[in-house]
């Protein structure tokens, strides 16, 4: 019978998820769920689902209560209906509902809403890892792998069948033949690890609004890629005229005032890949966000070279998102477009405002790479 309420509960969750899905675009662009992110769950505020009734507007009617105070004493803001009439006192108020969604569920919704294809991991059978699993029991082996329980059992069996065992004095001593050892096996597992390398321009021309857009977009990219790979690593690089690797917090908070040399970030990215993420073992996703301002055409040329010769061949895809700001010239995306007409690995996207985030996510992730 206990499962009964669980069925109702599941049904309720389905309905709420349906509502979230209906309004997913709103949730994506507002980014309010990012603040409520746990390790495995995002908790999403949804309005209380209420069946409509014929009723009075509460602020109209007021009610009766008790306590001290003169006429005119304020009691609290009208928004909270808890202060209602004779009902109050034993019921908690109607709070906003919070519903927990796992990242998988969220990614599934995102995938369905934006019709994202599943990613085909790069050469998944090429990237292999050995894994040692302990399974099976053997008659020989090193002392360090003695299987105590099985050994004891064997000894007990032997002693009972030979009549040595005395229940009054239950001492069990295994002899050499009783010993059992754990056995292992090396199995080859296709590995599909992925790393996302976020790079962002933090020079003066990137405002808070632009960073907020990057933050929201990166949340959804994380969510999606996390649903596609077993393990996801993320790295963050910020740059102005020089680049450095930072943690997530710093990534979104830092504001510098210097000029912009995009190549500095690309160089660091390349070094990072070479040092930590050999391309034959990792699916690599560099994302770069900037407002499209670069210091010089010379630096842009360096960037193009780096991309062409180093980063692009090593990555699954390289995504460049250009957020529109009042100060940026927006030249960089044009330069890239010019230089990489044929390149499938390079995805370019312009993000004009929060509403454009959805389209941009689709551009980045819509290729299934």
């Amino acid at each position: 019978m206990v499962s009964k309420i669980e069925r109702d509960h599941a049904r309720f969750r389905d309905i709420v998820k349906g509502k979230i899905k209906q309004n997913l675009k709103h949730y994506i662009t507002q980014g309010e769920m990012i603040g409520r992110m746990g390790k495995h769950y995002v908790s999403i505020p949804v309005p209380h689902i209420e069946l409509p009734r014929f009723r009075y507007g509460l602020p109209e009617t007021g009610g009766v209560s008790s306590g001290d105070g003169d006429v005119g004493t304020p009691l609290g803001p009208v928004q909270e209906p808890e202060e209602g009439s004779g009902e109050a006192g034993n019921q908690p108020g109607e709070h906003e509902l919070e519903i927990e969604l796992s990242f998988e569920e969220l990614a599934k919704m995102l995938g369905e809403e934006l019709e994202l294809p599943n990613i085909q991991p790069k050469g998944s059978n090429k990237i292999e890892a050995l894994k040692r699993v302990y399974r099976g029991v053997h008659l020989v082996g090193p002392r360090s792998l003695v299987h105590f329980k099985r050994t004891y059992k064997e000894a007990l069996k032997r002693q009972i069948s030979s009549g040595e065992y005395d229940p009054e004095d239950p001492i069990v001593i295994p002899n050499k033949k009783d010993f059992r050892y754990r056995g292992w096996k090396d199995i080859v597992l296709p590995q599909n690890n992925a790393v996302i390398i976020y790079m962002m321009d933090v020079s003066g021309s990137m405002g808070d609004e632009q960073k907020e857009m990057v933050r929201i977009e990166s949340f959804w990219i994380d969510t999606w890629l996390r649903s596609q790979y077993r393990d996801i690593e993320t790295r963050y690089i910020i740059h102005d005229a020089s680049a450095r690797q930072v943690d997530r917090e710093t990534f979104f908070r830092t504001k510098e005032s210097g000029g912009t040399l995009i190549s500095s970030a690309y160089k660091l990215c390349n070094i990072l890949i070479d040092r930590e993420f050999p391309p034959d073992q990792w699916n690599i996703y560099p994302f770069h966000f900037s407002d499209g301002d670069n210091w010089s055409t010379e630096d842009t040329r360096v960037c193009v070279e780096l991309l062409k010769n180093e980063i692009l061949p090593k990555s699954n895809m390289f995504c460049y998102g250009q957020v529109v700001s009042r100060y940026g010239s927006g030249q960089f995306i044009k330069d890239l477009r010019e230089n990489f007409r044929e390149e499938e690995n390079l995805i370019l996207s312009t993000i004009e405002n929060k509403e454009a985030i959805i389209g941009s996510i689709k551009e980045f992730l819509g290729k299934g790479k």
Binding site: L51, R55, Y56, G62, E83, G86, G89, N90
Partner: protein, 498 residues
């Protein structure tokens, strides 16, 4: 039915003890079966409105979600649950201390007494547990046959009008038939078709029989059309729709299920203050006078003060009911009522008034039999009580966006309290005309009593009623001082002043 586990021998002993005290005080209850459950089950049963065997519906899941979360955060704890049924079923929380369990038992026996004896409960189904299981089976069958979603959607539709029943109705069933019969009893005078003047032998030719017959039929049709339907406004909107809306058989049945459950729960809504007050009165009486051991008194005081605590700015029905019962008992013990008392203006004399009538106990038993919350407040809330209890009315201040204390006048307090209790503080709606504008449109009337409907929500209800009536739905009401008819024709909403 066995949902939780049986009583331990300790609890069994406690039960017998409390039951004996309750009987000795004159409480009159159905046999009561206690079951012990854990907090998860408490939340589950509470979400299901007390019945472990309800039909499947998502809102029970929503309620469960809410209860479980607020339990986890320590925002609430449900101490007792009791079902109006014969035998009564009540649940005890496994984690409660023995003092708590005794208190809950005393509380429960008083509830059972109230269910059994209060006038407004006399018509409720005392085999409701079986009936609920029955409803669940029927609805599950429909879901198997017609799909979960259509059935669930229709339940949603019905639930949004479940409060449109006639709370004052004597008999929940077939009240409608009575009026039909009356109609038949005093039939209107027979119809007369005007005839052309003619000589006797020519009559057959000048006024041919079949022509007259035709004319008569025509007139009858006309009269039928002019007859208003329903003849009197029907407050039991659910019943009216159940009888006259073009529904599938299964939908009609679902509607009747919702209606029946609504009638079953309505006395509990109508006697909340009294019922809780009565139960609190008896648990404190039984516990303090009989059941408590010296060592248990602190636990008891702690719990008791928890149930009847007043948060500032909110009204606790337990506390209000309890104090009113105590007040009545005191007044009737001392004879502080009647003409002489009312006409006395001497404050000191009133203070020391004691006629030694000692009729208090008898009086409160009478009150619990005859009253509901409305008459309880109307007859027994006195000015002295309101002052002692520091009652006030509050209203919204539009400028500051705050609730404010509006008045401490006794008249205002009583009026507001009665308003919030009458019809559960819900608007009175009735079916006014099922042939509105002569187009079989439905016209519901809202009896405006100074407060407007929440129009944004009302129009959503109208969309739901449309799903049942399948023709244009109108609501006659008052919006910001102007007579208004809200209309929904299946596509769009319109508002018309008249």
């Amino acid at each position: 039915m066995m949902f939780g586990s049986e009583l331990t021998s300790e609890l069994q002993k406690a039960k017998e003890e409390i039951k004996a005290y309750a009987k000795a005080y004159g409480l009159d209850f159905f046999e009561t079966i206690f079951e012990v459950i854990d907090y998860k089950q408490v939340n589950e049963i509470a979400a299901l409105g007390g019945f472990p065997t309800r039909y499947p519906h998502w809102r029970f899941g929503m309620e469960y979600d809410r209860l479980s979360k607020s339990y986890q955060f320590g925002l609430h704890k449900i101490y007792e649950m009791v079902i109006n049924n014969d035998p009564c079923y009540a649940y005890l929380m496994r984690s409660n201390s023995i003092v708590d369990q005794k208190l809950v038992m005393a509380h429960v026996y008083a509830h059972c007494d109230f269910f059994k004896c209060n006038m407004y409960f006399q018509k409720t189904n005392r085999k409701m547990i079986d009936e609920m299981a029955n409803h669940a089976t029927r609805i599950r069958n429909y879901m198997d046959k017609y799909g979960i979603e259509p059935v669930e959607d229709f339940i949603d539709v019905c639930l949004s009008i479940e409060n449109l029943i006639d709370y004052q109705a004597e008999k929940p069933d077939n009240i409608y038939r009575a009026e039909d019969k009356q109609e038949e009893d005093d039939l209107p005078p027979p119809l007369r078709v005007p005839k052309l003047k003619s000589k006797g032998y020519m009559d057959k030719y000048i006024n041919p029989d079949d022509f007259l017959k035709q004319q008569k039929q025509k007139l009858e049709k006309q009269r039928e059309k002019n007859k208003k339907f329903p003849p009197n406004p029907e407050k039991d909107v659910l019943l009216f729709l159940q009888e006259y809306a073009p529904l599938h058989t299964w939908q009609r049945d679902v509607l009747s299920i919702i209606r029946e459950e609504s009638y079953y729960f309505s006395p509990q809504g109508q006697t909340k203050i009294m019922n809780e007050g009565w139960a609190s009165y008896w648990h404190s009486t039984i516990m303090t006078q009989k059941a408590l051991k010296d060592s248990e008194i602190v636990d008891f005081a702690d719990h008791h003060s928890g149930t009847v605590a007043m948060r500032p700015g909110s009204l606790n029905p337990y506390k209000l009911g309890l104090e009113l019962f105590r007040d009545i008992e005191d007044r009737w013990n001392k004879g502080k009522h009647g003409k002489e008392w009312d006409e006395c203006n001497d404050y000191r004399k009133k203070e020391e008034w004691d006629k030694k009538h000692n009729l208090g106990r008898q009086k409160i038993f009478e009150v619990r039999r005859l009253c509901n919350d409305v008459t309880f407040i109307d007859d027994y809330l006195t000015m002295e009580f309101a002052e002692r209890f520091k009652l006030f009315t509050f209203e919204a201040n539009d400028r500051s966006g705050q609730w404010e204390i509006a008045s401490r006048e006794f008249k205002d307090i009583k009026n507001k309290l009665l308003f919030s209790l009458t019809n559960f503080g819900q608007p009175f709606m009735s079916v006014e005309d099922a042939n509105f504008k002569n187009r079989t449109e439905l016209l519901l009337n809202h009896r405006h009593e100074g407060f407007d409907l929440k129009v944004s929500e009302a129009i959503k209800v109208m969309e739901n009623v449309y799903k049942i009536w399948k023709k244009t739905v109108n609501v006659r009401t008052v919006v910001q001082g102007e007579n208004t008819i809200l209309t929904y024709d299946g596509k769009e909403h319109t508002q018309e002043k008249y």
